[in-house]
């Protein structure tokens, strides 16, 4: 039998969590955090996006990496699901296709930790004119 859990345990966890968050806010601004977006539309979920997302949530916490994991919709890359967008602070986002748990591990270890790109990037093939020229040529 598993121990029956209640929200009381959460109350006890609260202090530790608050300390963690305070520490993080001192060291960094949220916009300076790495963002990971997992595509979670029907195509993504059917291809295993949930496992990948679970892996990121669990392992980023375990490896003490400050990053925000969020969900997005379908970008039209249904053939390459699960897709994951990684945006390091101050850099353009990079989209990886066919991400499984193994690839996710590589993304954490190489891309997020070392800033080194990993195989499996879906190239950006289209930019709107606005986006292209807004920053000046």
């Amino acid at each position: 039998m598993k121990k029956v859990k209640s929200l009381d345990d959460l109350k006890r966890m609260k202090e530790g969590l608050q300390a963690n968050i305070a520490l993080r806010e001192k060291s960094e601004h949220p916009e300076a955090m790495t963002q990971i977006k997992v595509a979670m539309a029907t195509c993504g979920i059917a291809s295993g996006a949930k496992e990948v997302m679970d892996f990121f949530i669990t392992n980023l916490a375990k490896r003490n990496i400050d990053a925000i994991v969020t969900q997005t919709g379908c970008m039209g890359y249904c053939y390459a699901e699960p897709t994951v967008e990684v945006r390091l602070p101050g850099q353009d986002p990079v989209v990886y296709g066919d991400v499984d748990v193994k690839k996710a591990d590589e993304i954490i270890e190489k891309h997020i930790k070392e800033g080194e790109l990993v195989d499996g990037i879906i190239p950006v093939n289209y930019e709107t004119i606005d986006k292209k020229y807004s920053g000046g040529i």
Binding site: K2, K14, A41, I45
Partner: protein, 183 residues
């Protein structure tokens, strides 16, 4: 979809896209009817009758990134394949609700799957929304219903966001411990 929990995760994305602030999800095992019932209700934008009449059509979607919308058709197919039924209702401006019934002992009924993981990640990924999850299990002698409500969690957490990974993992364990499926 490998299991029912993934269908729930998928369909809940529609509620999120519809701007819902509250999504109620329930899983009810009814062994006396040999049924497993999944119900999802949101307070999002809802759909017009025109959209509602086409929602079960796999070639209908409001997305512009692709031309197919398989979420609802897949759930309907999965329920009907397992000897069950599917119904969806919607009122524009009020919200949408759906009920999918699976034959509980039907050989084609998918397993319930990692429902705790689905509910906790929905809650964590959408901290601005409320998720209420009800689970009526068929365990021996149990007639009770477990209710998980993110509003209660938020009351305990105060200013700590639900998106905190440690919180998501905790909530998953919490739901898991309280909803052991008799399957």
């Amino acid at each position: 979809m490998k299991d029912i929990s993934l269908h729930i995760l998928d369909v809940a994305q529609n509620s999120i896209a519809a701007g819902a602030t509250r999504v109620e999800i329930s899983v009810r095992e009814k062994p006396w009817l040999d049924e497993l019932e999944i119900a999802i209700e949101d307070n999002g934008n809802g759909m017009t009758d025109e959209a509602l009449s086409r929602v079960e059509d796999p070639f209908y979607t409001t997305r512009t990134t692709r031309k197919v919308g398989l979420g609802i058709p897949l759930l309907k197919h999965s329920a009907e394949q397992a000897g069950g039924s599917f119904a969806i209702r919607s009122v524009p401006g009020k919200g949408t609700s759906l009920v999918a019934v699976f034959g509980r002992s039907h050989i084609d009924r998918p397993p319930v799957g990692d429902i705790a993981g689905v509910i906790s990640s929905l809650a964590g990924m959408n901290p601005g929304m409320d998720f209420i999850y009800r689970h009526a299990a068929a365990a021996q002698g149990s007639t009770g219903e477990y209710v998980f409500d993110t509003r209660e969690v938020k009351a305990v957490l105060g200013d700590i966001p639900l998106s905190e990974p440690a919180v998501i993992l905790y909530l998953k364990e919490l739901i898991e411990a309280n909803t052991e499926c008799a399957e």
